[in-house]
Amino acid sequence: MERQSNREGIKGMMNPTRYGIERFAYWLQRLTGLGLLFYLIGHIIETSAIVEGKAAWDKMLELTQTTEGHIILILVIGMSVFHTVNGIRVMLGHGGIGVGKPGRPDYPYRPASLNYKQRLCIWVSIALAALAMMYGAGILFGE
C-alpha cells in the first residue's frame, strides 16, 4: 500500500518543474516525440490523398496550406530540431561521452553527469529549435 501511495503516474511524469533543466529536457523530449509521432501519422494519412487523384490532392492542400496548417508545420520544425539535438545529447550521454568522471558523493551532492556541458547542450537544443522555427516561418509565410 505504501508503494502504491508513492506512485504519481501520469501526473508525476507530466510535471516538468522539479529536478532542474535536465528533467525539463526529459519531459520535452517525450512531449516532442509524441507530437512528432502524431504528425507522422497525420502526414501519412494526408499524403495518401495522392492516390485518389488530382482533385483529392488539391482538396487536401486547401485544408493543410492554411495559416493554421503553417503554424502546425512551424511547431513540427521546432519539435524535430529539439528532439534531434537533445536526442544526440542523450545518445552521447548513454555512451559515456560528456557525463564526467564518477566521484565521491559530497555535499551538496551534485551528480557529475549533470554538468555544464549537458546543460549547455539543452539550451543549444532549445535555441536551435527557435532559430529553425523562425527560418521555417520565413519560408511558409513569405519573407
Binding site: S48, I50, Q65, L140
Partner: protein, 117 residues
C-alpha cells in the same frame, strides 16, 4: 519485440534515429529545390514518386520513423506503468500499430509510384 533485450532495442532506437535524421534532411531538401508551394503541386509530387531512388528512400524513411516512433511510445508507456499483462499489451499494441502504419504508407508509395492514381 518482447523477446528482444532492451539494450538491443535501444541500439535499434538510436540507429533508426540517426538514419531518419539523414534521410528526412534529404526529404526536406527535395521540397526546397523549388518554391515550397510549387513543390506541393500534384504533378511535382507524382514526379517525386515516379523517381525510383526517391520512392525507395521514402519507404526507408517510413520504416525508420515508424520503428523509432512506436518504440518511443512503447518506452513512454512502459515508464508510466509496469505489469506482465500491461507490458505485453503495450509491446504488441505498438508492434501492431507500427506494422499498420508501414503497410498503409507503403501502399501510398507503391500506388503513386506505379501510376495507380
Amino acid at each position: 519485440m518482447s523477446k528482444m533485450r532492451e539494450s538491443l532495442i535501444m541500439k535499434v532506437h538510436y540507429g533508426t534515429a540517426l538514419g531518419a535524421v539523414a534521410l528526412v534532411a534529404i526529404h526536406i531538401l527535395f521540397r526546397m529545390t523549388q518554391d515550397f508551394s510549387a513543390s506541393l503541386q500534384y504533378q511535382s509530387v507524382i514526379a517525386n514518386y515516379h523517381f525510383l531512388p526517391y520512392a525507395l528512400m521514402l519507404e526507408v524513411v517510413l520504416i525508420l520513423l515508424s520503428v523509432h516512433g512506436f518504440n518511443g511510445l512503447r518506452v513512454i508507456l512502459l515508464e508510466l506503468k509496469q505489469g506482465i499483462g500491461y507490458e505485453r499489451a503495450v509491446n504488441y499494441g505498438c508492434l501492431g500499430a507500427m506494422t499498420a502504419l508501414i503497410v498503409y504508407g507503403s501502399r501510398t508509395i507503391l500506388m503513386a509510384g506505379v501510376g495507380m492514381t
